[in-house]
C-alpha cells in the first residue's frame, strides 16, 4: 500500500505497540532548554532514575538569556545554573551563554547537523515542528513527556492523521515563506490542524531554501498541528553535508540511500488536502491577538465576526476598516525561531541598506544563534543594521516571548518577525503585529506598517 512520508518515519520508530494503546516511539534526538527542564530533571532524581541516552540529548540556553550587557536577574540565573548542574551530572552536552554554538534550540539543531531526515525529534517547546523541514517527525512536548524521554528515550504517542498542503506557483516579489504560512493560517484558522501531521508539498516548497521551509514548518503549530514536514531533496542534502554532525564518508552514502526513500509514495492518501496558489499571495500582517487574524498589507481590518475578534480589537486598540498601512508602530523586532536565520537577516538587510529607522521607532535585530551572528557580521550585515539605527544583539529568544529584559512597554506596538501575537506575549499590554523580515524592516523605516514593495527607492 502506498505510504505517506510521516507514516514511513513513524513505522521505523515503533518500539512497541498494541491494539488500543499508543505506540511507543523511539526518539532519535531530544533538545533541552532551561525553561522546561528543571522539573523533569528533579523528577528523575526523586525517582532515582538516570538519563538513558545522554548521547542523544543536547542542551542550550535561549529562552531566558540576556541579549545585551544586562545583568541577569536572580531567578533567571538560578534557572540557567540548574541546567548547567543537571547537564554536568547527567553527562549532557550543553551549549550555554558565551559558547559559539549557543542559540535558539530550533536554530542550532539544523545548524549543527543534528537535525536529519527520517529522525524523530522532540523538545519541550511547541515550535519543535521547525525540524520537520528536513523530513523528520518533530514535535513539541510537555514537561512530563520531557521526563519520560530523559528516562527512556521513548514516548507513547498516538498516530497522527496526514494532511497534505500543496503549494504551487512562483512567489511574487516581496512575498516570503512567512507570508505563505501566515496566509495559510488566516485561511485555515488557529485550530484547523488539530490532530494532524502536515506535509507541505508542491513547486513552491521545492523552490524554497531550507531556511524558508523551516519558517513554514515552524509555524505549523500556530494552526494547531503538532507536526509539519517537507520531504528531503538535494537542497536538504546539500545543506546538511558540511555540518558538524552530518554522517561522513561511507555513512554519508548509506544515509543518502535511505533519505532518498523518504517521500510520500504516489497515490498515498491523506485525510485532507489543501491547495494554495502561491502566485496570488501578498505580504501578510496580523491585526489581532492570534496568528490567524491576518490580512494582506494592502487590506483593512475586517469587521469582527465573533467575540474573539472583538476582544482582539479592544486589546489591540484598533478599529474595523482601518487600512493596515495607517497603523503607526513604536518597536520592531527581527528575530525568533521563525525568522532569525542568516537568510532572514539578509532579506531584512537588503531593505534596510542605505535607509534610516524612523525616529519614533526603536528597532532591534536578535540573531537566532551565536553562529548566525558571526556569519552575519562576516558579511557586514551588523553594520548595515547599526548604520540605519537598529540595535544589534546577542542570540536568544529575546522579545519573541519577553522572558528577558527585551520587552514591550504597556501600549507599545511592535512589528515583529516572531510567531505569536497573543495578548502580552512580548510584554504585558504590548501589541504585536506579525510580519516577514523584509516587512519588519520596511515598518522600521516607515514608522508604520508598510508595504515593502512600495518603499521609496534609495539614492545610491
Amino acid at each position: 500500500m502506498p505510504q505517506t512520508l510521516a507514516r514511513k518515519i513513524w513505522d521505523q520508530h515503533v518500539v512497541d505497540g498494541a491494539r488500543g494503546e499508543p505506540d511507543l516511539l523511539f526518539i532519535d534526538m531530544h533538545l533541552v532548554h532551561e525553561v522546561t527542564s528543571p522539573q523533569p530533571f528533579a523528577g528523575l532524581r526523586l525517582a532515582g532514575r538516570k538519563v538513558h541516552r545522554p548521547d542523544l540529548t543536547i542542551a542550550t540556553t535561549d529562552h531566558n538569556t540576556p541579549t545585551g550587557p544586562e545583568v541577569v536577574d536572580d531567578l533567571s540565573r538560578k534557572q540557567l545554573e540548574a541546567l548547567d548542574a543537571n547537564c554536568a551530572r547527567e553527562g549532557i552536552r550543553l551549549y550555554k551563554l558565551g559558547s559559539r554554538h549557543q542559540g535558539i534550540v530550533h536554530i542550532i539543531g539544523p545548524e549543527l547537523g543534528l537535525t536529519q531526515p527520517g529522525m524523530t525529534i522532540v523538545c519541550g517547546d511547541s515550535h519543535t515542528s521547525t525540524h520537520g523541514a528536513f523530513g523528520a517527525i518533530a514535535f513539541g512536548i510537555g514537561t512530563s513527556e520531557v521526563e519520560h524521554v530523559l528516562a527512556t528515550q521513548c514516548l507513547p504517542q498516538r498516530r497522527l492523521s496526514d494532511v497534505f498542503v500543496n503549494i504551487e506557483g512562483k512567489l511574487p516579489m516581496g512575498v516570503t515563506a512567512k507570508d505563505v504560512v501566515v496566509g495559510l493560517i488566516a485561511q485555515e484558522g488557529v485550530s484547523g490542524g488539530q490532530g494532524h501531521a502536515v506535509e507541505y508539498r508542491g513547486s513552491t516548497i521545492r523552490d524554497l531554501s531550507m531556511e524558508g521551509r523551516m519558517t513554514i514548518c515552524n509555524m505549523t503549530i500556530e494552526w494547531g498541528a503538532r507536526v509539519g514536514m517537507v520531504a528531503p531533496d538535494d537542497k536538504t542534502f546539500a545543506y546538511l553535508e558540511p555540518r558538524r554532525h552530518a554522517p561522513k564518508g561511507k555513512h554519508w552514502e548509506e544515509a543518502l540511500d535511505y533519505w532518498r526513500t523518504l517521500s510520500s509514495d504516489p497515490g498515498a492518501e491523506s485525510e485532507r488536502e489543501i491547495n494554495i496558489d502561491a502566485s496570488r499571495l501578498e505580504p501578510y500582517v496580523t491585526w489581532g491577538t492570534n496568528p490567524g487574524q491576518a490580512v494582506p498589507i494592502t487590506g483593512r481590518i475586517p469587521v469582527p465576526r465573533d467575540e474573539t475578534a472583538e476582544r482582539a480589537l479592544r486589546y489591540m486598540d484598533l478599529k474595523a476598516g482601518t487600512a493596515m498601512q495607517d497603523i503607526a508602530i513604536d518597536r520592531v523586532f527581527i528575530g525568533s525561531c521563525t525568522n532569525s536565520r542568516i537568510e532572514d537577516l539578509r532579506l531584512a538587510a537588503d531593505v534596510v541598506r542605505g535607509r534610516t529607522v524612523h525616529p519614533r521607532v526603536r528597532a532591534m535585530v536578535v540573531p537566532g544563534s551565536a553562529t548566525v551572528k558571526l556569519v552575519a557580521e562576516s558579511e557586514g550585515l551588523d553594520k548595515v543594521f547599526r548604520d540605519a539605527g537598529f540595535e544589534w544583539r546577542d542570540a536568544g529568544c529575546s522579545m519573541c516571548l519577553g522572558m528577558n529584559p527585551d520587552i514591550l512597554a504597556p501600549g507599545e506596538r511592535c512589528a515583529s518577525t516572531s510567531n505569536r501575537n497573543f495578548e502580552g506575549r512580548q510584554g504585558a499590554g504590548g501589541r504585536t503585529h506579525l510580519v516577514s523580515p523584509p516587512m519588519a524592516a520596511a515598518a522600521a523605516i516607515a514608522g508604520h506598517l508598510a508595504d515593502v514593495r512600495e518603499l521609496e527607492p534609495v539614492a545610491r
Binding site: V15, E21, L24, F26, D28, M29, T36, P38, Q39, A42, A47, R49, H52, L56, T57, I58, H63, L75, K78, A82, G91, R93, G113, M119, G124, D125, S126, G140, I141, G142, T143, S144, E145, E147, H148, A151, T152, Q153, C154, V190, S191, Q194, G195, G224, A225, A246, H251, E254, A255, Y258, N290, T308, L401, G402, M403, R420, F422, E423, G424, R425
Partner: protein, 195 residues
Amino acid sequence: MKPVSRVAGRMAPLAMADVDTDQIIPKQFLKSIERTGFGEFLFYDWRKRGDFILDRPEHRGARILVTGPNFGCGSSREHAPWAIQEAGYEVIIASSFADIFRSNCGNIGVPAITLPEAEVRELLDLALEAPETEAVVDLEKQSITAGALSFSFEIEPFLKERLRNGLDEVGLTMQKMDKIAAYEAGRPAWMPTVS
C-alpha cells in the same frame, strides 16, 4: 499522579475561544525551577485587569472549568495545566483542546473532556445562571450531570485506565527496557549522536 474517577463540584464558566497558554500562565512565572507555586498566578494578566469572571464570589471554589474551543493553544508549557490544577480545578470541559495541552493534562491527571459545542454552551449557560449548581463528572460512566443536564463523553480507554489508577507512565515504559534495547541495537550507525 493522583488517581481520578469522579469529580463533583461547581462549574466555572470561561466562555472564550482560543485561550492560549500565555494567558493561562504568563512567561514571567516560567522562571521558577519548582513544580509548584503556579496556582495563584493562573490567568494573571486578566485577573489583574479586574472583574475577571472566575474571581467573582459565586464562581470561587469551583472544581470544573468549562470553556471554549481550542483551549490551551500556543506554547507547550506544562505550567499551564499545573496552574489550573493547583488553583483547584480538577477537570476541564471544552469543545476542543490544543493537542499538546491535552496530552499535558492527561499526564498530570486532569481529565480534559471534549463535548459538542452545543452541550458546552448549555453547561456554560447553566453555570452563569445558576452558579451554585453541583455538577458531577464520572470518568467510570463517562458522564456529566449538572441540574437537569446529562451528557456522555468519549475517552480513550487507555487514558481512562491511567487516570483512574494514577499510573506512573515512565514506570510503565521502563518495564519495556529490553524492547528498547533491542530497538537500539538495530539503529543505523550513521544516525547522529552528540558525544
